[in-house]
């Protein structure tokens, strides 16, 4: 159907972003294709060190799923930041990622965890790395005839910690700035994997490559999180709009990134104490 109608058709997932856009006449389409009845898109499976989450898995399901909390804590931590519980009862992970709102949490989580986005059309299937999937505000690698099928998240090792922080005008509102962080350590408690992703500050979630590089190889106890937070905003493209100025976003982003790094480190230390 998508192939037949091209850009005159839109897929309807949870409808918590698309329907408001239609109501406000900011988006219009001749055909809405409701995929809520497709049960094959609602499964969560774990195999070969990764999680495959179907596009139509609802945010409320993710929030309550203990397997996900264990295997992809960042996803669970991010979920309560999305809208309100009534919104999460309908909203889906695939819808959120495909919508690619610059301030949305799941796209940032997908980038931070090095997710792959599984895409299908009537005739072909492909997977795109999350970093390449988002190419601007509300803009993705999806073609008109393609459907986002699943998000594949690599499971990080047990010695890892995650955190997400954001600032919004009101609870549940769009983030003016946010940071999602993942840190993994080796046997000697030196950092061997680091993800620092800022969202809400630019047109798409952005990796703070300078901060990530600075984290790699560092022993946990030697981190200067305030300095790392500042570093996290040096190589970003930051937007200036009616909601917040670019300098505000940069300052808040730096603070949130530092705070999230500190929190992720705390998680690792707490886990170690539990094991001892």
């Amino acid at each position: 159907m998508l192939a037949a109608h091209g850009d005159e058709a839109k897929l309807l997932a949870g409808g918590q972003s698309l329907v408001p856009l239609l109501a406000l006449r900011l988006a219009r389409c001749e055909h809405l294709i409701d995929i809520n009845g497709v049960d094959a898109l609602k499964t969560i499976t774990r195999a070969n060190g990764s999680l495959r989450i179907g596009a139509m898995v609802r945010q409320a399901t993710i929030e309550a799923d203990l397997t996900l909390l264990e295997a992809a804590p960042l996803l669970t931590l991010a979920t309560p930041h999305i809208g309100h519980f009534q919104i999460r009862n309908r909203g889906t992970i695939g819808g959120s990622v495909a919508h690619a709102d610059p301030a949305a949490e799941y796209p940032a989580v997908a980038v931070a965890l090095d997710a792959e986005i599984e895409i299908a059309s009537a005739t072909s299937r492909r997977a795109v790395a999350a970093t390449d999937f988002f190419d601007g505000a509300f803009s993705t690698a999806l073609e008109d005839d393609e459907l986002l099928v699943a998000i594949i998240l690599p499971v990080w090792s047990g010695q890892s910690g995650f955190a997400i922080r954001e600032v919004a005008r009101r609870h549940g509102d769009f983030a003016l700035a946010g940071a999602a962080v993942g840190i993994q350590v080796d046997q000697q408690a030196n950092i061997d994997r680091a993800a620092v992703v800022l969202f809400g500050v630019g047109n798409q979630p952005q990796r703070a490559t300078a901060a990530e590089a600075a984290l790699l190889g560092m022993p946990l106890e030697k981190l200067n999180t305030a300095e790392l937070g500042r570093l996290a905003t040096t190589d970003l493209l930051v937007i200036d709009d009616g909601h917040a100025s670019a300098s505000y976003r940069r300052r808040v982003g730096a603070h949130l990134a530092g705070n999230a790094i500190a929190s992720a480190v705390r998680h690792i230390c707490e886990e170690e104490e539990k094991e001892v």
Binding site: V19, Q86, I87
Partner: protein, 167 residues
């Protein structure tokens, strides 16, 4: 324009059959086809929460769903929370006791949200309640009374379930 599509639902225990346009929202369907006017439309974009209803027991925005999507489902609105004889539910009673409403426009949405919230959070803290209700707006800003009402309902419901456990 497409042909109307038949939709069958049970709203507050009453079966409804209607043919509706594909573009009609659940909120408009409930008000216009089922004549359940406790569903209030404020923003019509999912922000204010006035149209919140229970769809198969789960709180959702009726303005962000299309009627054709809920074919075969059960919908409960604020009217459906009370007993058939007019006895108010615990949450409704608490809203009345605590002056949890001023103009009343947002009230049906708040009552539905609070009912769903308390089912999942039987012993909420004050912060839990404020977060749980953050998806509903009261433009009279009568939040103190609303929060007090939810606190009272929570304590009444937990006392009741506690005594049931003992039996």
């Amino acid at each position: 324009m497409t042909e109307p599509i038949p939709v069958t639902t049970t709203v507050n225990g009453v079966p409804h059959n209607a043919a509706v346009e594909a573009r009609k929202t659940l909120a408009d369907y409930l008000r216009e086809d089922c004549l359940v006017t406790g569903v209030h439309l404020g923003c019509e974009q999912g922000a204010c929460g006035a149209c919140t209803v229970l769809l198969d027991g789960i709180a959702v925005r009726a303005c962000l769903l299309f009627a054709v999507q809920v074919d075969g489902s059960t919908v409960t609105t604020a009217e459906g929370l009370m007993d058939p004889d007019g006895t108010l539910s615990t949450v409704q009673e608490a809203f009345r006791n605590c002056h949890g409403l001023q103009c009343g426009f947002c009230t049906p949405g708040f009552v539905i949200s609070a009912t769903a919230f308390l089912e999942n959070h039987p012993h909420p803290t004050l912060d839990d309640i404020r977060t749980g209700l953050s998806g509903n707006l009261c433009r009279c800003t009568g939040y103190q009374g609303i929060v007090a009402a939810v606190q009272q309902a929570a304590s009444k419901l937990s006392t009741r379930s506690g005594s049931e456990d003992k039996q």
